[in-house]
Symmetry: C2
């Protein structure tokens, strides 16, 4: 199909399609003549995945490229698929303090978790505790036990999905898509739960529908 048809069917503009191809997220189409390129169904499927990661998952183009490159590598064993999904976390610009790393590690162990030092979730979580401290809001770390329990429930639901899709190819897609989109799903549901819980505790507030 021509780029105009690919744009219509995928919902991604021709300009963005060219950009994704230039940035290495999308394989190039086949040149069939002067200023004319043919795309196939595989390009359409790939664009659906790219849209999911960028538009709904909120990844930058650079982060999406890294995640896709890792997911495309057939040598990645199943165990590393989790590592791929974990690459989708933004790396903290400033390394977290040892105190916060230890605080997260201790809290996770107290919850019965196995803690791996090379898990990128650890510095990401520790960086948040450092920020609470920089803002003079250490009191916010009191949410940690609740967040740990919530993360455990979500991870169990995630792993159930992987177990039911045991083929390595589907497992990789499940983890990559499920992890990035799962963050977005959880953020959306959390806003809904905040509003519901606020309504339950404090009653209707001015301007809110009751």
């Amino acid at each position: 199909m021509r780029i105009s048809e690919l744009a219509t069917r995928s919902g991604v503009s021709a300009a963005s399609i060219k950009w994704y191809a230039r940035e290495g997220l999308l394989p190039a189409g086949e040149r069939t003549g002067y200023n004319q390129t043919e795309y196939g169904e595989e390009h359409l499927a790939r664009l659906q995945l790219i849209r999911s990661l960028i538009e709904v998952g909120g990844l930058s183009v650079a982060a999406a490229r890294d995640v896709l490159a890792a997911a495309d590598d057939p040598d990645h064993p199943f165990g590393n698929t989790l590592g791929i999904a974990q690459a989708s976390l933004p790396r903290p610009a400033t390394p977290p303090t040892a105190a916060s790393l230890e605080q997260v590690t201790d809290a996770a162990r107290a919850q019965g978790w196995e803690v791996f030092d090379d898990n990128p979730g650890l510095p990401a979580a520790a960086a948040v505790l450092d920020r609470y401290r920089a803002l003079g809001r250490e009191d916010l770390t009191a949410t940690l036990p609740g967040y740990l329990r919530a993360a455990e429930i979500v991870a169990a639901a995630d792993l159930d999905r992987i177990t039911e899709n045991p083929s390595p190819a589907t497992a990789a897609q499940t983890v990559v898509v499920g992890t990035v989109l799962g963050d977005a799903l959880l953020a959306g549901l959390r806003r809904m739960a905040q509003a519901s819980e606020s309504h339950r505790r404090f009653g209707p507030t001015p301007g809110s529908p009751s």
Copy 2:
């Protein structure tokens, strides 16, 4: 203080400080002479907040500006503070389908939640279900009940923090900072829980420690 001192104390480069001021996130400093500007402690505190939202919370500069502008408005009643925090969610580029909106609404009501149609979490969550469908992965919606329970636990922890900080000014900061950084904290802990749960179910995998 001069911009160089502000940069050192905040950990934000002078170029970024100028950019944030130009984009309206940071109030301008006081011009004290040719090519010389003075900044105060309030600029330092503001930069800590900006860093939290952008570097650790992962917000774009435009999203951080919107969140800060809403949080700065003294006319926002307490009930709308949640609305401000909810503005930090990326809006789906494509409106979600009615089917997905209904699916999220029904699942939330089944969990006993009060559902507000104008809550931005609703279209954000529905957009994720649409993406699962576009990718042919409707099976991933089976995670919804687990995610709902997790969101409920997190929201209860969030509201506990607000209740303990009942002054409107602190409540606004708690919700804005707690919501944006809380998403990042939850995403990090989720990666750690996935690795721990994977280890528990499947044992050590090639390349993983232990």
